[in-house]
Amino acid sequence: MSEGPTIGIDLGTSNSCVATIVERRPRVLANAFGEPTTASVVAFGENGSISVGNQAKARVILDPRHTVSSAKRLIGRYSFSEEVKKAQAVCHYEIVGTESHGVRIAIRDEEFSLPEISAFVLKEMKQIAEAKLGCEVSRAVITVPAYFNDNQRQATKDAGRIAGLEVLRILNEPTAAALAYGFGRKLRQRVVVYDLGGGTFDVSVLEIGEDVFEVLATAGDTYLGGDDFDDRLIDLLAEHVQETHGVNVRTDPFAFEKLKAAAEKGKIALSQEDSTLIEVPGLVQHEGETVDLSYHLTRQQFEKLVIDLIQRTFKVCDEALQQASLTVRDLDGVILVGGPTRLPTIRQAVTSYFGKEPEVDINPDEVVAVGAAIHADSLASKDTDTFLLDVTPLTLRLGISGGMAEAIIERNSPVPIDHTRIFTPAKDMQETVTVKIFQGESRTSAGNELLGQFEFSGFEPGPRDQVQIEVSFEISTEGIVRVSACDPKTGVEHSTTVSMSSGLSEAELQAIIERGRAEDVARGVQDAPDVGPARSARTDQATMAPMEDDDEEMLLDLPEVEADLPSAPESNREPFDDEGTDLSGEFDPDSV
């Protein structure tokens, strides 16, 4: 088992933060510039150099084609997803799809998967910690939005491995925040965590019972964040430039990034002032003349621009409270997380929605990393003194004939949890079935997010009502899904950690890790910690990729009479390691 300090990393859409525990007290580790947070931006220089952080952020304006920001919005998504299409339209770096519907970022002649991009950020955070602590750091807890699905969680975990980290746990951001808030205070409270990040929104309702942190319900929107607030302001400014000067700034990446930076600065200024002057001298050259931007923005004006976005967050809050069977009156505390919650506009709206002032002693930029550090420390030490009881944010479903998705494990179920159900093939004499796994709240498969799929054969074909296929579904403490299919008669089994996630197969992942290690050696960098041989149960990517033409008849179906399955039969099935380590291809901490 590796030794040394453990860290907690809040891998954010816009900014990341790292913390640790020193002498039983959490401490945020600032970067070389003394800043507690570091921009989650990766810039690729012409000479092959890679920079991360605020330096890289400056490159967004100078070299937008080779500077990647907001990668978190893309991680664990398929190339056909809405978010990827949207990013392709607005991002200046090149986003390409792979044959198996994975997503890659093309930089000059190289292509990077999203976990590789995020790994650059994680590596930077690891190095910040190592510089501050003066020793090697290899073990970390990495946080993700509570509403992240299995693909996004797996991909984040992969990023950690690529960065040379032993990922002790993937932890939900709001849960981490609540842990930081309640740690060591012996509280008996019901709290809500309102977490508006750069690109995602989460809300979790927790019951804190001294050392137990029970998540009662969580809800979220992975398409809503501070970036969207910026976008509104950018639209306003771009329109202003168009009207007053007749120039479309959007066609000029350099000018557009300058406008974007100014909008962000203006938004932040409104946290302190009632109004601000947004100025960009020399924004763009137009017909031989220099166009300057000067715009007076008031807080009221900004409020009007984003009020519908704020309303959308409260719809999500309604949902979470309803799922927890609570009303705002049942809550003892409101915890705000994420940079955008510094905006007075949001603070006021939150106060009026919950009928309560939010906690003021919490730093919304650092609280998640602090919680992650506390949890990392607790996992690494023998005497665990806090217990996190989390839930799965989305209903886990199986695709059945007729384009439907049968609910198997409902959202807000406590994790870890498992469930076994009997299905039949969709038609007589079928030799193979396609097990398709979804997450989401729609009854139709098209309305949910596809996690992955695999083919199962080896059972005795027969009339459909006589063939039984047992499908087991498990969700680990980290929210990672594993599904297996089994013929109860023959015992033939096929199982997989459902994830084509990053679009990286275990072999590809290993190759990246190897390559990274070779590069480190070549650059004279200390060798990355050995992550050990992966004993992969992850299915080959080819079988996991969604098929182009869905063969309806290959699917499973509900049995005519639902077989009552009071208990999972004792098969020779390998029990699911709760920590998901071995089965997801991770190394076993005990064997290192």
């Binding site: 088992m1 029970e214 996992l379 403490t477 390691d577 920590e579």
Partner: protein, 180 residues
Amino acid sequence: MTEAEIRALSRMLDRLDYYKLLRIDRDSTAARVREAYHKMRRSFHPDAFHGEARDLRSAVGEISKRVNEGYQVLRDAARRTAYDKGLGQGQLRFSAATEETMKTAAAAVGGTTANGKRFYAQSQAAERSGDFATAISTLKMAMTFEASNEHFKQKLADLEARAPKKPKDANPHAIRWPKS
């Protein structure tokens, strides 16, 4: 709890009902269920076994999963009622079939036919406004469409029992002639 005891518990999960697993009485309140749940999760939290032997971790994982399953059923009043019913017939675990039965029963509460639903809703509205006579007459209408709906039958008996007993001539506004 010793490691041997943990392993033993993980092997006997299939012989325990959710109450026995959480070590609570069948009539425990919701607050008691939660308290017992927290206690069990504290004792068997996978985090506390991080870095322990693999088989011990998997035993703890199996216990955690079953404890969560039990809690998910017992914390929900409707599921708990359905589970208790099945438990009477020896079903130790809540299954998809139980869930289905429960949902069918829940649907039957509000009526299963369009007309049944419509009259039942009218009956409920009348009951809320305290108009028992209308509540009873509309419920009877609903029952003409769903004669075998057990919930409707119970509801009718309930309404008739609660309806104020009125004397034959109950109109308070009726003009009474002085007795002569």
